[in-house]
Protein backbone atom coordinates (compact mmCIF):
# COMPACT_ATOMS: atom_id res chain seq x y z
CA UNK A 1 0.00 0.00 0.00
CA UNK A 2 1.37 3.33 -0.93
CA UNK A 3 1.10 5.99 1.67
CA UNK A 4 -0.68 8.76 -0.18
CA UNK A 5 -3.71 8.92 -2.37
CA UNK A 6 -6.19 7.25 -0.10
CA UNK A 7 -7.21 10.12 2.05
CA UNK A 8 -8.94 11.97 -0.73
CA UNK A 9 -11.06 9.08 -1.94
CA UNK A 10 -13.66 6.75 -0.57
CA UNK A 11 -12.20 3.61 0.91
CA UNK A 12 -13.20 1.35 -1.95
CA UNK A 13 -11.54 3.44 -4.62
CA UNK A 14 -7.94 2.59 -5.47
CA UNK A 15 -5.72 5.61 -5.80
CA UNK A 16 -5.05 5.19 -9.51
CA UNK A 17 -8.71 5.66 -10.46
CA UNK A 18 -10.63 8.91 -10.64
CA UNK A 19 -14.01 7.58 -9.58
CA UNK A 20 -15.87 4.41 -8.77
CA UNK A 21 -17.46 4.21 -12.18
CA UNK A 22 -14.09 4.23 -13.91
CA UNK A 23 -12.88 1.59 -11.52
CA UNK A 24 -15.84 -0.70 -12.16
CA UNK A 25 -15.47 -0.45 -15.91
CA UNK A 26 -11.76 -1.08 -15.64
CA UNK A 27 -12.47 -4.26 -13.75
CA UNK A 28 -15.09 -5.44 -16.22
CA UNK A 29 -12.83 -4.83 -19.20
CA UNK A 30 -9.89 -6.39 -17.39
CA UNK A 31 -11.95 -9.43 -16.51
CA UNK A 32 -13.06 -9.86 -20.10
CA UNK A 33 -9.50 -9.55 -21.32
CA UNK A 34 -8.60 -12.28 -18.86
CA UNK A 35 -11.50 -14.41 -20.10
CA UNK A 36 -10.19 -13.95 -23.64
CA UNK A 37 -6.99 -15.64 -22.54
CA UNK A 38 -9.06 -18.42 -21.01
CA UNK A 39 -11.05 -18.79 -24.21
CA UNK A 40 -7.89 -19.23 -26.21
CA UNK A 41 -6.51 -21.59 -23.60
CA UNK A 42 -9.44 -23.98 -23.75
CA UNK A 43 -9.86 -23.27 -27.44
CA UNK A 44 -6.59 -25.03 -28.14
CA UNK A 45 -7.78 -28.12 -26.30
CA UNK A 46 -10.95 -28.08 -28.38
CA UNK A 47 -8.96 -27.66 -31.56
CA UNK A 48 -6.65 -30.55 -30.79
CA UNK A 49 -9.61 -32.68 -29.91
CA UNK A 50 -11.46 -31.76 -33.10
CA UNK A 51 -8.50 -32.54 -35.31
CA UNK A 52 -7.94 -35.92 -33.73
CA UNK A 53 -11.60 -36.80 -33.72
CA UNK A 54 -11.72 -36.17 -37.44
CA UNK A 55 -8.55 -38.17 -38.02
CA UNK A 56 -9.52 -41.08 -35.77
CA UNK A 57 -13.26 -40.98 -35.95
CA UNK A 58 -13.99 -44.68 -35.72
CA UNK A 59 -11.74 -45.15 -32.72
CA UNK A 60 -13.09 -42.11 -30.93
CA UNK A 61 -16.62 -43.28 -31.47
CA UNK A 62 -15.75 -46.62 -30.01
CA UNK A 63 -13.97 -45.09 -27.04
CA UNK A 64 -16.66 -42.57 -26.25
CA UNK A 65 -19.09 -45.41 -25.63
CA UNK A 66 -17.15 -46.03 -22.45
CA UNK A 67 -18.35 -42.69 -21.07
CA UNK A 68 -21.59 -42.44 -19.15
CA UNK A 69 -23.95 -40.06 -20.94
CA UNK A 70 -26.27 -40.03 -17.95
CA UNK A 71 -23.62 -38.71 -15.62
CA UNK A 72 -22.47 -36.22 -18.24
CA UNK A 73 -25.98 -34.89 -18.67
CA UNK A 74 -26.49 -34.76 -14.92
CA UNK A 75 -23.36 -32.70 -14.56
CA UNK A 76 -24.45 -30.36 -17.33
CA UNK A 77 -27.68 -29.83 -15.48
CA UNK A 78 -25.86 -29.23 -12.20
CA UNK A 79 -23.47 -26.73 -13.69
CA UNK A 80 -26.13 -24.81 -15.60
CA UNK A 81 -28.13 -24.55 -12.39
CA UNK A 82 -25.09 -23.28 -10.53
CA UNK A 83 -24.74 -20.62 -13.19
CA UNK A 84 -28.28 -19.52 -12.42
CA UNK A 85 -27.59 -19.32 -8.69
CA UNK A 86 -24.40 -17.40 -9.37
CA UNK A 87 -26.25 -14.93 -11.57
CA UNK A 88 -28.78 -14.49 -8.78
CA UNK A 89 -25.99 -13.93 -6.29
CA UNK A 90 -24.69 -11.09 -8.44
CA UNK A 91 -28.18 -9.66 -8.70
CA UNK A 92 -28.67 -9.70 -4.93
CA UNK A 93 -25.23 -8.27 -4.37
CA UNK A 94 -26.15 -5.39 -6.65
CA UNK A 95 -29.44 -4.70 -4.87
CA UNK A 96 -27.72 -5.28 -1.52
CA UNK A 97 -29.89 -8.12 -0.34
CA UNK A 98 -27.28 -9.68 1.88
CA UNK A 99 -29.12 -12.77 3.08
CA UNK A 100 -30.31 -13.78 -0.37
CA UNK A 101 -26.84 -13.23 -1.71
CA UNK A 102 -25.36 -15.50 0.95
CA UNK A 103 -27.88 -18.20 0.16
CA UNK A 104 -27.20 -18.00 -3.57
CA UNK A 105 -23.45 -18.15 -3.08
CA UNK A 106 -23.79 -21.14 -0.77
CA UNK A 107 -26.03 -22.88 -3.29
CA UNK A 108 -23.50 -22.27 -6.04
CA UNK A 109 -20.73 -23.78 -3.97
CA UNK A 110 -22.90 -26.76 -3.13
CA UNK A 111 -23.70 -27.37 -6.80
CA UNK A 112 -20.06 -27.02 -7.76
CA UNK A 113 -19.20 -29.64 -5.19
CA UNK A 114 -21.87 -31.94 -6.58
CA UNK A 115 -20.31 -31.47 -9.99
CA UNK A 116 -16.88 -32.37 -8.69
CA UNK A 117 -18.33 -35.35 -6.84
CA UNK A 118 -19.96 -36.73 -9.97
CA UNK A 119 -16.72 -36.14 -11.83
CA UNK A 120 -14.84 -38.07 -9.16
CA UNK A 121 -17.24 -40.98 -9.57
CA UNK A 122 -16.70 -40.94 -13.32
CA UNK A 123 -12.94 -40.79 -12.93
CA UNK A 124 -12.87 -43.68 -10.51
CA UNK A 125 -14.87 -45.79 -12.97
CA UNK A 126 -12.29 -45.09 -15.61
CA UNK A 127 -9.49 -46.01 -13.24
CA UNK A 128 -11.04 -49.31 -12.26
CA UNK A 129 -11.63 -50.15 -15.92
CA UNK A 130 -7.99 -49.37 -16.79
CA UNK A 131 -9.05 -46.51 -19.03
CA UNK A 132 -6.70 -43.97 -17.52
CA UNK A 133 -3.99 -43.43 -20.11
CA UNK A 134 -1.12 -44.28 -17.82
CA UNK A 135 0.89 -47.40 -17.20
CA UNK A 136 -2.00 -49.77 -16.65
CA UNK A 137 -4.02 -48.66 -19.66
CA UNK A 138 -5.92 -51.57 -21.17
CA UNK A 139 -8.54 -51.34 -23.87
CA UNK A 140 -10.85 -54.19 -24.80
CA UNK A 141 -10.59 -53.78 -28.58
CA UNK A 142 -6.91 -54.10 -29.58
CA UNK A 143 -7.29 -52.52 -33.03
CA UNK A 144 -8.46 -49.30 -31.41
CA UNK A 145 -6.32 -49.45 -28.30
CA UNK A 146 -3.74 -46.86 -29.35
CA UNK A 147 -6.19 -44.27 -30.54
CA UNK A 148 -8.54 -44.91 -27.63
CA UNK A 149 -5.62 -44.02 -25.45
CA UNK A 150 -5.43 -40.72 -27.27
CA UNK A 151 -9.14 -40.20 -26.71
CA UNK A 152 -8.83 -40.80 -23.00
CA UNK A 153 -5.77 -38.59 -22.80
CA UNK A 154 -7.80 -35.78 -24.24
CA UNK A 155 -10.79 -36.67 -22.10
CA UNK A 156 -8.76 -36.52 -18.91
CA UNK A 157 -6.81 -33.50 -20.08
CA UNK A 158 -9.86 -31.45 -21.00
CA UNK A 159 -12.12 -32.43 -18.12
CA UNK A 160 -9.20 -32.26 -15.71
CA UNK A 161 -8.35 -28.71 -16.71
CA UNK A 162 -12.00 -27.85 -16.46
CA UNK A 163 -12.33 -29.48 -13.04
CA UNK A 164 -9.31 -27.49 -11.91
CA UNK A 165 -11.14 -24.34 -12.95
CA UNK A 166 -14.23 -25.49 -11.06
CA UNK A 167 -12.14 -26.11 -7.97
CA UNK A 168 -10.57 -22.65 -8.21
CA UNK A 169 -14.08 -21.31 -8.66
CA UNK A 170 -15.20 -22.98 -5.44
CA UNK A 171 -12.37 -21.28 -3.59
CA UNK A 172 -13.12 -17.85 -5.04
CA UNK A 173 -16.87 -18.14 -4.45
CA UNK A 174 -16.08 -19.34 -0.95
CA UNK A 175 -14.06 -16.20 -0.44
CA UNK A 176 -17.02 -14.13 -1.65
CA UNK A 177 -19.23 -16.00 0.77
CA UNK A 178 -16.93 -15.23 3.69
CA UNK A 179 -16.81 -11.63 2.59
CA UNK A 180 -20.59 -11.41 2.58
CA UNK A 181 -20.85 -13.14 5.95
CA UNK A 182 -18.40 -10.73 7.54
CA UNK A 183 -20.04 -7.70 6.01
CA UNK A 184 -22.76 -7.12 8.58
CA UNK A 185 -23.79 -3.71 7.30
CA UNK A 186 -24.28 -5.09 3.82
CA UNK A 187 -22.23 -2.28 2.34
CA UNK A 188 -19.56 -4.29 0.62
CA UNK A 189 -18.67 -3.60 -2.94
CA UNK A 190 -20.49 -5.84 -5.40
CA UNK A 191 -17.76 -5.67 -8.06
CA UNK A 192 -15.81 -8.67 -6.76
CA UNK A 193 -18.97 -10.77 -6.80
CA UNK A 194 -19.71 -9.66 -10.34
CA UNK A 195 -16.19 -10.59 -11.44
CA UNK A 196 -16.48 -13.97 -9.77
CA UNK A 197 -19.75 -14.43 -11.61
CA UNK A 198 -18.12 -13.74 -14.99
CA UNK A 199 -15.48 -16.32 -14.24
CA UNK A 200 -18.00 -18.88 -13.11
CA UNK A 201 -20.19 -18.48 -16.19
CA UNK A 202 -17.15 -18.93 -18.34
CA UNK A 203 -16.38 -22.22 -16.62
CA UNK A 204 -19.96 -23.19 -17.36
CA UNK A 205 -19.56 -22.34 -21.05
CA UNK A 206 -16.52 -24.57 -21.31
CA UNK A 207 -18.56 -27.46 -20.05
CA UNK A 208 -21.42 -26.61 -22.41
CA UNK A 209 -19.02 -27.44 -25.25
CA UNK A 210 -17.21 -30.30 -23.57
CA UNK A 211 -20.37 -32.25 -22.98
CA UNK A 212 -21.50 -32.79 -26.57
CA UNK A 213 -17.95 -33.04 -27.86
CA UNK A 214 -16.93 -35.83 -25.52
CA UNK A 215 -20.16 -37.62 -24.66
CA UNK A 216 -22.24 -37.31 -27.79
CA UNK A 217 -20.05 -38.46 -30.68
CA UNK A 218 -22.23 -39.54 -33.59
CA UNK A 219 -21.41 -42.82 -35.26
Amino acid sequence: MTATGHSTHASELSHQFENIEQQREAYVVGMWAFLVTEIMFFGVVFLIYTVYRVLNHAAFYDAHNKLDIGLGALNTFVLLTSSLTMALAVHWAQVRNRRAQIAALAATIALACVFLGVKAVEYSHKFTHHLFPGMGFAYPDPTFADQARLFFSLYFGATGLHALHVAIGVLVIGWMLVRALLDRQGRADYIPVEMTGLYWHFVDIVWIFLFPLLYLIPR
Partner: protein, 104 residues
Amino acid sequence: MTKQDTSHVVPISVYLKAFVALMVLLVLTIAAAHLPLGTGVNSAVAFTIALVKALVVILYFMHVRYGTRLVWLWSAAGFFWLIIMFAITLSDYVFRTALRVRGW
Protein backbone atom coordinates in the same frame (compact mmCIF):
# COMPACT_ATOMS: atom_id res chain seq x y z
CA MET B 1 -19.39 6.30 -1.06
CA THR B 2 -21.33 3.15 -1.89
CA LYS B 3 -24.47 4.75 -3.19
CA GLN B 4 -25.98 4.48 -6.64
CA ASP B 5 -24.21 2.84 -9.47
CA THR B 6 -25.21 3.16 -13.06
CA SER B 7 -24.64 -0.43 -14.03
CA HIS B 8 -27.63 -2.35 -15.20
CA VAL B 9 -29.32 -4.55 -12.63
CA VAL B 10 -30.85 -7.43 -14.56
CA PRO B 11 -34.25 -8.51 -13.19
CA ILE B 12 -34.56 -12.03 -11.85
CA SER B 13 -37.21 -12.96 -14.39
CA VAL B 14 -34.64 -12.62 -17.16
CA TYR B 15 -32.34 -15.03 -15.41
CA LEU B 16 -35.11 -17.53 -14.96
CA LYS B 17 -36.12 -17.34 -18.61
CA ALA B 18 -32.54 -17.85 -19.66
CA PHE B 19 -32.30 -20.85 -17.37
CA VAL B 20 -35.43 -22.44 -18.80
CA ALA B 21 -34.05 -21.94 -22.30
CA LEU B 22 -30.84 -23.65 -21.27
CA MET B 23 -32.73 -26.63 -19.88
CA VAL B 24 -34.77 -27.01 -23.04
CA LEU B 25 -31.61 -26.90 -25.10
CA LEU B 26 -29.98 -29.51 -22.89
CA VAL B 27 -32.83 -31.93 -23.44
CA LEU B 28 -32.81 -31.11 -27.12
CA THR B 29 -29.14 -31.85 -27.57
CA ILE B 30 -29.39 -35.24 -25.90
CA ALA B 31 -32.47 -36.11 -27.94
CA ALA B 32 -30.86 -35.01 -31.18
CA ALA B 33 -27.80 -37.13 -30.47
CA HIS B 34 -29.96 -40.22 -30.66
CA LEU B 35 -31.39 -39.45 -34.09
CA PRO B 36 -29.41 -41.11 -36.87
CA LEU B 37 -28.79 -38.09 -39.07
CA GLY B 38 -25.31 -38.97 -40.23
CA THR B 39 -21.99 -38.02 -38.70
CA GLY B 40 -21.77 -34.55 -40.17
CA VAL B 41 -25.34 -33.45 -39.45
CA ASN B 42 -25.33 -34.84 -35.93
CA SER B 43 -22.08 -33.09 -35.11
CA ALA B 44 -23.34 -29.85 -36.59
CA VAL B 45 -26.58 -30.01 -34.63
CA ALA B 46 -24.79 -30.72 -31.35
CA PHE B 47 -22.37 -27.90 -32.00
CA THR B 48 -25.07 -25.40 -32.95
CA ILE B 49 -27.05 -26.13 -29.82
CA ALA B 50 -23.93 -25.71 -27.70
CA LEU B 51 -23.28 -22.41 -29.39
CA VAL B 52 -26.80 -21.16 -28.66
CA LYS B 53 -26.45 -22.22 -25.04
CA ALA B 54 -23.16 -20.40 -24.74
CA LEU B 55 -24.72 -17.30 -26.27
CA VAL B 56 -27.55 -17.35 -23.75
CA VAL B 57 -25.06 -17.54 -20.91
CA ILE B 58 -22.89 -14.80 -22.35
CA LEU B 59 -25.67 -12.39 -23.20
CA TYR B 60 -27.81 -12.74 -20.09
CA PHE B 61 -25.88 -14.34 -17.25
CA MET B 62 -22.76 -12.41 -18.16
CA HIS B 63 -24.67 -9.19 -18.93
CA VAL B 64 -22.99 -8.62 -22.27
CA ARG B 65 -26.39 -7.80 -23.72
CA TYR B 66 -26.42 -4.73 -21.44
CA GLY B 67 -22.71 -3.98 -21.68
CA THR B 68 -20.89 -1.12 -23.33
CA ARG B 69 -19.45 -1.34 -26.83
CA LEU B 70 -16.08 -2.06 -25.30
CA VAL B 71 -17.42 -5.11 -23.50
CA TRP B 72 -19.05 -6.34 -26.68
CA LEU B 73 -15.78 -5.96 -28.48
CA TRP B 74 -13.68 -7.82 -25.97
CA SER B 75 -16.18 -10.58 -25.39
CA ALA B 76 -16.36 -11.17 -29.13
CA ALA B 77 -12.62 -10.98 -29.70
CA GLY B 78 -11.72 -14.29 -28.10
CA PHE B 79 -14.36 -16.25 -29.97
CA PHE B 80 -13.54 -14.53 -33.21
CA TRP B 81 -9.87 -15.41 -32.92
CA LEU B 82 -10.75 -18.95 -32.03
CA ILE B 83 -12.74 -19.21 -35.23
CA ILE B 84 -9.73 -18.03 -37.20
CA MET B 85 -7.49 -20.57 -35.54
CA PHE B 86 -9.97 -23.36 -36.17
CA ALA B 87 -10.69 -22.38 -39.74
CA ILE B 88 -7.10 -22.18 -40.90
CA THR B 89 -5.80 -25.19 -39.02
CA LEU B 90 -8.70 -27.44 -39.94
CA SER B 91 -8.55 -26.46 -43.58
CA ASP B 92 -4.97 -27.71 -43.64
CA TYR B 93 -6.18 -31.05 -42.34
CA VAL B 94 -9.00 -31.20 -44.81
CA PHE B 95 -6.55 -30.80 -47.66
CA ARG B 96 -4.05 -33.17 -46.17
CA THR B 97 -6.34 -36.05 -45.33
CA ALA B 98 -9.86 -35.96 -46.68
CA LEU B 99 -9.22 -34.46 -50.08
CA ARG B 100 -5.70 -35.78 -50.55
CA VAL B 101 -5.58 -34.35 -54.05
CA ARG B 102 -2.28 -35.35 -55.55
CA GLY B 103 0.35 -33.09 -54.07
CA TRP B 104 -2.04 -30.72 -52.40
